[in-house]
């Protein structure tokens, strides 16, 4: 069974530029999560989708971050414009349904904003 796929693996941009990350969850998983992991911290939830609907985006900085999961499968997270403090690893995870606690993570995208 294929795991959660993410691309790109690494991205370096200058502040005020925009960037997008892509995630393809495990086949059949209805719930998809985006996390931000700053160096030395644990992952922090940004947004949670159930199929193509948003369950929780309360911790997403909506002035610069956006995410979509239009067909209920893969998802894109965008930052526009990026700030220095956005430098982090962006992790995508999926689970069968939102009420199941076991989540499966992708390898992440390491973003460096200079």
């Amino acid at each position: 069974e294929a795991g959660v796929a993410q691309s790109p693996r690494y991205k370096i941009i200058e502040k005020r530029q925009s960037v997008a990350f892509w995630c393809n969850p495990i086949s059949g998983h209805a719930t998809l999560y985006w996390y931000q992991q700053i160096l030395g911290q644990g992952p922090k939830l940004l947004i949670q989708f159930q199929n193509n609907g948003v369950v929780d985006d309360s911790q997403l900085p909506k002035d610069r971050f956006s995410a979509e999961r239009l067909k209920g499968v893969d998802s894109t997270l965008k930052i526009q414009p990026a700030k220095l403090e956005d430098s982090a690893v962006y992790l995508c995870a999926s689970s069968l349904v939102f009420s199941i606690h076991e989540q499966y993570f992708g390898p992440g995208t390491r973003l460096t904003v200079t």
Binding site: R9, L45, D56, E102
Partner: protein
Amino acid sequence: DQQVKQNSPSLSVQEGRISILNCDYTNSMFDYFLWYKKYPAEGPTFLISISSIKDKNEDGRFTVFLNKSAKHLSLHIVPSQPGDSAVYFCAAWDSGAGSYQLTFGKGTKLSVIP
């Protein structure tokens, strides 16, 4: 305010000995507690979980103990192997008020010395 705390940033253990990783939490409404293992440049991998109504769960070399009165859990690895060297994250699952979220600690880096 950190709801899940891992107060030891790092731990070194000799191969074959027991590794004990600790985690404290503040929210008594958490339903499940999970441990994730993370190697460099990879996403976190689910290791073991425990329901809040239990005090012990065992899976091979890994055992998690939960002390609800102290709001404390620990992960025991016996015997420790060099391949166990990784960052271990404690996470707590909250399904209260329909939130269904994982809250992570900052992680403990385990080094198993051959």
